[in-house]
């Protein structure tokens, strides 16, 4: 990763090529499609947060029927995501990979992502993949909003010199 950074500044739009992105994206879609075709379930990744909280919290919001009813398969879905990525790591990555992004950015950013995805009814997979795939106006608005704000935030963070 680090040795790539100087190359990225040259303005090449796809410094790592397009194929891994396209292949990865198609597989993300296939994963969602397999579940949908077999079960009719439109799987998003972020409802897992609330539904899993229902195991440990008495807050009524987390114990609504739709969360309690779906919490078991959402655990399985998430375990699938973790192990799918682990399969990739074993086959193609050669050992574990760790981020250089600082812990406070991960914690603080994660917190805001947790608030935002639940308030906004979905995340990059729920709205961005399944909602956009459903041609839902709500999802288009949500995705346009979070993309624009995320770009602004990332540029700002970079501009004030926070790296990595």
């Amino acid at each position: 990763m680090n040795e790539l950074s100087p190359l990225l500044a040259l303005g090449e739009p796809f410094p790592r090529g397009v194929l891994p992105y396209l292949l990865g994206g198609l597989l993300v879609g296939v994963g969602a499609a397999v579940i949908y075709l077999a079960t009719g379930i439109i799987a998003g990744a972020s409802t897992f947060l609330e539904s899993t909280l229902s195991y440990v919290s008495n807050v009524p919001r987390f114990n609504r029927f739709k969360y309690v009813q779906s919490r078991d398969w959402r655990l399985v879905f998430t375990a699938g995501i973790v192990s799918g990525a682990a399969v990739y790591a074993v086959l193609f990555q050669g050992g574990i990979w760790t981020t250089e992004v600082q812990w406070w950015r991960l914690l603080g950013g994660g917190f805001l992502v947790g608030v935002g995805t639940r308030l906004g009814k979905g995340c990059t997979s729920g709205h961005g993949v399944c909602g956009v795939g459903s041609l839902s106006n709500t999802s288009f608005v949500n995705v346009a909003t979070f993309l624009a704000i995320a770009i602004g935030t990332a540029q700002l963070v970079q501009a004030v010199g926070v790296a990595p």
């Binding site: 292949l23 399985v76 192990s83 991960l106 947790g114 608030v115 997979s125 729920g126 399944c130």
Partner: protein
């Protein structure tokens, strides 16, 4: 109740779907916050192909299933689209999500996949997401109990 109608294959297929989903996220690089941040900083536009490629596959699948297929074999559920009601929270939530995504380079699915590629520092983000989800749920529960049921029915 509904679990009694579930096929034996229900959990295995959910797992397999998640497996493909996570494998795809790992190949795409989204499990690495650096790749996401490069995209947001206009240094690598590859992520457009991740979201675009995935949305095309789900779009075609949803269109075909809702038009031509009857019911899902494992649950007997009808095929539907993911259409959620629009309200102010969609924009407010998207804004907060955007700040978090731009700060950390992490979103929920990608964070789980990141755990899978051995990125243990990502647990900071996972903990953060749970705390954030808890905070908003706690706050909304508190708010709806102090402002009667009127706002709750209006917003849900």
């Amino acid at each position: 109740m509904s679990s009694t109608r579930r096929s034996q294959l229900f959990m295995p297929i959910i797992y397999v779907g998640g497996l493909i989903f996570g494998f795809g996220l790992a190949i795409s690089g989204m499990a690495r916050p650096e790749v996401v941040l490069d995209f947001l900083q206009f240094e690598d536009f590859g992520l457009l192909f991740v979201m675009g490629g995935a949305a095309v596959v789900t779009g075609v699948t949803f269109a075909v299933a809702t038009r031509y297929l009857d019911r899902a074999p494992l649950t007997a559920s009808e095929y539907t689209r993911r259409v959620k009601a629009f309200d102010r929270n969609v924009v407010i939530g998207g804004t907060i999500f955007g700040v978090g995504w731009g700060l950390s380079g992490i979103c929920p699915g990608a964070a789980y996949a990141s755990v899978g590629i051995g990125n243990y520092p990502i647990l900071w983000a996972v903990v953060g997401m749970f705390l954030g989800a808890y905070a908003q749920g706690y706050w909304r529960a508190l708010r709806s109990s102090t402002t009667d049921d009127v706002t709750e029915t209006a917003s849900s």
